[in-house]
Symmetry: C2
Subunit: 429 residues, 2 copies
Amino acid sequence: MSSERPPEAAPHADAPRATRAAIIAVGSEMLSSLRQDTNSLWLTARLEEVGISVVRKSIVADDPEAIGDEVSFAARCADLVVMTGGLGPTADDVTVAAVARRLDMPLSRNEDYVARMRERFARRGIRMPAVNEKQADFIVGARVLENPRGTAPGSWIARGGKEYVILPGVPSEMREIMEARVLPVLRERAGRIRASRRVLRVSGMGESAVEELVAPVYAKWKDDPVTILASPGEVQLHLRIVGEPEEAARRLDAMEADFRQALGQRVLSRDEDLASSVGRHLRESGLTVAVAESCTGGMIAKLLTDAPGSSDYFLGGLVAYSNAAKVEFLAVAEETLRSHGAVSEETARAMARGARERFGADLAVAVTGIAGPDGGTPEKPVGTVFFALARREGAEVARRREFNGDREVVRLAASLYALDLVRRAVADA
Amino acid sequence: MSSERPPEAAPHADAPRATRAAIIAVGSEMLSSLRQDTNSLWLTARLEEVGISVVRKSIVADDPEAIGDEVSFAARCADLVVMTGGLGPTADDVTVAAVARRLDMPLSRNEDYVARMRERFARRGIRMPAVNEKQADFIVGARVLENPRGTAPGSWIARGGKEYVILPGVPSEMREIMEARVLPVLRERAGRIRASRRVLRVSGMGESAVEELVAPVYAKWKDDPVTILASPGEVQLHLRIVGEPEEAARRLDAMEADFRQALGQRVLSRDEDLASSVGRHLRESGLTVAVAESCTGGMIAKLLTDAPGSSDYFLGGLVAYSNAAKVEFLAVAEETLRSHGAVSEETARAMARGARERFGADLAVAVTGIAGPDGGTPEKPVGTVFFALARREGAEVARRREFNGDREVVRLAASLYALDLVRRAVADA
């Protein structure tokens, strides 16, 4: 049986470590405005982990000439070319043939693989369509990368001092082959070299405020660049070091300590998002929480319940969009709404108190504000949000914030701010 | 004053219409695993609108040689090369110089532009740093594309029968220049040719079920390819025709009619998402709605309140995560919870009734289910969700569904299914 297989190259484990990779996504659909290539971002992260930098990425149509040109061009600037897509059974799927032609390597049908594909179809009670046979055409000398999830196998070719890894475009299949067959080899070649990362999440302040606070630390660690990424309500600091893991961990510990000193308790636990951090603190302290939302419209409850097991500490939430609901469910006094307005500190406090009592929770957080685009006034412009936190023992917290941005940004920033109030209340308790 | 400016090329409005474009995003940060190029998707959509197809996309580092090679390569397969990024004032920003060198065209400093940049800084009370001067270096013969939002101007160059549009990488600046200075010219050249699109949204069924129903229609319109895109809870059909608008509209009308006939009332109003469609139906009919959520944890309320003005028809929602909350707020009988369980049709019905009455709404929808990953049983596996819809006039609807996927997918699919129940109830009313 093995004699029918084309010769496969060695596992390449003792080849020199590649340091520069190019990624080519093949598929005309990714050149329309409807689909984005998402594989390359995942591949970049995996390659970085084994110490390989991506020097260029491209997306090319299902066209043999265009694919061939792209492969030649990519091989000029990288020593490893990773390709995804175009391995299906249809006439559009031409990646393997295009690469074979460009590298001037013959194709050969692997009859053993054809038999296994037939079996695969038979197990599902289907006769294999004839078109699928071409998926068993491999470049002679290629290492076949089995695909446990589908009929499109990958392949790994060495030619002229360069290497080419060809993977299916379906993300789950691409990832599984990469993790099971490609990364172990790359990792072995890299020896003890790898990228170590750490993410610090900072809540309750904007990007420029974070930048100002960390500028001296940033300068101190300028040889290990830190990336600052901002999203509404959260700023992330990405720390990354390529090298031996013990040394990297030591450096990362020292960097993290410096950043934490600059930022204080604004830093959440690392590698954990805000809702998860709140959940962990609640679970550890044995406390329960309830929420009362107006302008955030359910988003805080949604974020809290994204985590599995959140029923351990989240009792429930009320989305009181109308004044009547605030009165009926949260016992907010009509007089409070009349004299201070639905968007006021007093109403936020009454909502928090009402929610805590009615749900029987240890803590409750309430939000009322103007998400826009309409409803603003000179005293309370769009983006104005009032927060209140009520506790069983009675100590209340109230805050007023004005967020910039559109409705979506205001709602998200307000939701994260409310979660941060809960986090800090529990962390301090 | 104008004599100091380098000569600018004509507006290119009478140049032949480009039909093939390549997009190059310049920026080393987009080759890391932390940032994605998002400009190219937007650019692709705008170019399609003026009848230009994107034939390849690439991302390249801030390196003059790499940029030069990329430009040469792109110009071989396209007649219009659109570049973004690398126009800032720092040493990393080398796009213009790299293009000039590769196209063998001289650079010249535009002193008039330098003066205007200085004024711009002065208005903000800042002295312009010397490094910014290089942003006034233009390729001789380039058409300068003013940037009203920043100091990095774009440029438009014609050379060897190809055209090169260079834009800043900051998305808001890139978009504004493209819309104000580039697209009008491309539109004029295209004459009456443009791409007309239509999106049909299908709710309440999966991708393969949609594909089966529309297969005959798909075959009938095979010359005008339709793209099917699936996401949890929704399938989109994208129709696109390039040509004169009146003729395109006629063809789109006919296509839409065929698809609607095949799919029936599963098709939402076109170009409108499900929550917006629900909102429009409620507003038109003058009805109000409330929600009672368990496993979806606030997501239905959040989706309904994403739309501005939703307070006109959305009265509020209750996230009753605990049994106690179901009893306390929605008057679900303890006996119902005991004998049928919290995840049951009976509980869903009681929640819907309770929410409708307590919020005083015309309609209420309730959801209770097992989002996972834990909590499944043989009779009610993870993904099982019960829905109920209560109306003022008393006619109730109840449904049981099993959704496949992880916690996030189950929650989203259940939320959209619930919204679709409301939509159909109001549309039928």
